[in-house]
Subunit: 245 residues, 2 copies
Amino acid sequence: FPVFTLVRLLGLAAVAGIFYWAVHLRGGMALSTDEESKLPLFNVHPVLMLIGLVALNGEVLNLCCKCKNSFLWYSDILDTNFNGLVIFMHAALLAYKTVPGTKKLKKLVHLALQFLAMFLSLIGLWAVWKFHDERKIDHLYTLHSWLGLACVIFFSLQWATGFWTFWYPGGSRSGRASLLPWHVFFGIFIYVLAIATSVSGLLEKSIFMQSAKMIERFSTEAMFMNWLGLLLVLLGALVILAIVS
Amino acid sequence: FPVFTLVRLLGLAAVAGIFYWAVHLRGGMALSTDEESKLPLFNVHPVLMLIGLVALNGEVLNLCCKCKNSFLWYSDILDTNFNGLVIFMHAALLAYKTVPGTKKLKKLVHLALQFLAMFLSLIGLWAVWKFHDERKIDHLYTLHSWLGLACVIFFSLQWATGFWTFWYPGGSRSGRASLLPWHVFFGIFIYVLAIATSVSGLLEKSIFMQSAKMIERFSTEAMFMNWLGLLLVLLGALVILAIVS
Ligand code: HEM
Ligand code: HEM
Ligand code: HEM
Ligand code: HEM
Ligand SMILES: O=C1O[C@H]([C@@H](O)CO)C(O)=C1O
């Protein structure tokens, strides 16, 4: 049963869904706009957040289950203490099998993809921040925004410490080996957090639009957003299943 | 580092927090009320949901990390195929070490605690449903309510299949052994779902109250609810950490 194919399909479906929502139902995106509502600016936010922190990041996590029966790099790491998180470590190592090329090249792919994810999510964050400024809405008053800020900060820290430990200057062999399980654990935690944050964003956006009488409770759009939220939950469950199984 | 003590403390803090909120900030709870707002009826909902599906359920999950270095019951199950989920199986098995008494008694404790959790959550659900009826609010229009309904249904199914497989009539030995990892995986999934649902409930309640001008964006109460949401996320992360480590 190819979980990773399903994960990729669901990830694509989520990205397609949020694009459809932003472009077709919400009238499009723009990084700067003369429209008084400033809504095209807002619409950039969910799209880039979902692409960066959910789809791309999930794709990177998902790589790890592709070849879970081979242990090519295993010997590289067996010289250290194991703990319970070791199961994730296997997962991590196995990622190297899926991208062709040297170990260094594979690291570079991981590092670069996660950089792209971080970059997109920072633009997405900038867009909603600017939207709030231009519309004179307070910053950081919702639980969604708190979770979201934590998420982006953790992601950036994770990237920086990953870079520092595994790329340049890089720790000692045993240092790297003992940090890897934590790197993977936090990577998974951030992923789950990104899904919870996105779900809460969809929920509040839908409620805001209902309060503003822009959409009805049972309108097609409201139902579409609810289904998209359920899709994200399913995606998260599957990525975790893929990693632990 | 005793993660399980911390998990218990955070669980207690979350329960204390939601009680404080319902009783002190929201004016109390009642299963039937003459107040026109019907809000005391609503207030039963978050409290019972948190106690049942997050705190009690988390307590049950948490038991599994208490004695993670002993493998008393291990031999009982080793005659089957292992797969990656086996790590959770260990966790599951180890729960038996923490409650004194026979294996049967420990199963009974697990079964009974989860029954209590299910029972409380069904009353909590009934309360919000009745609240919606009496105030003539639609049912099941939010993403929160969809996630919540899925959560309660999954929890009940999990209970029923757990009972059927492991208690009465009970499957064959190999049947039980091969179902256990799935039982544990779904148990953890439901737990994470319950946390995400509760976070989304806190978020929407806060936004509803802000739209109704009952509270201000940066009021003590709004900030309190946001912190409670963050506490729940931390709790979820720790329970998962406890289980995998
Ligand atoms: C926020 C950014 C990052 C996240 C969320 C993240 C997450 C993860 C996850 C989930 C794994 C295990 C699964 C997998 O192998 O794909 C992993 C493995 C790994 N990561 Fe990261 N990572 C990030 C940035 C980095 C950076 C900048 C480096 C520097 C080179 C790095 C180095 C590694 C290494 C060496 C492994 C183990 C072997 C491997 O599979 O590539 N990570 N990371
Ligand atoms: C992991 C993904 C996401 C992160 C990290 C994130 C982060 C944030 C942050 C930090 C803010 C606060 C901006 C400010 O205070 O100026 C915000 C606002 C907002 N986001 Fe997101 N977001 C994510 C996904 C989404 C999605 C998918 C939606 C769906 C429509 C959404 C809807 C909103 C809305 C409506 C606001 C404005 C109201 C508020 O401040 O809560 N977000 N987001
Ligand atoms: C919705 C209700 C339930 C949930 C969420 C649930 C969840 C879990 C979880 C997370 C575990 C692994 C951790 C642990 O050992 O505590 C587990 C183990 C187990 N569960 Fe359940 N469970 C439920 C109901 C039941 C029922 C009704 C039975 C019937 C006897 C049952 C039988 C078992 C058995 C035999 C184990 C493995 C050994 C053990 O640790 O007790 N479960 N369950
Ligand atoms: C796992 C825990 C929870 C579950 C399973 C759950 C489930 C549900 C369900 C099924 C409904 C729909 C009732 C109807 O349509 O008549 C609902 C409504 C509601 N719940 Fe929860 N809930 C949970 C936790 C919470 C928490 C912690 C809060 C925080 C205040 C909350 C706030 C609300 C609100 C405001 C409503 C009414 C609006 C709506 O239908 O979404 N819930 N809940
Ligand atoms: O930089 C790395 O550290 C670990 C491991 O080699 C440590 O032993 C790993 O897989 C890398 O690519």
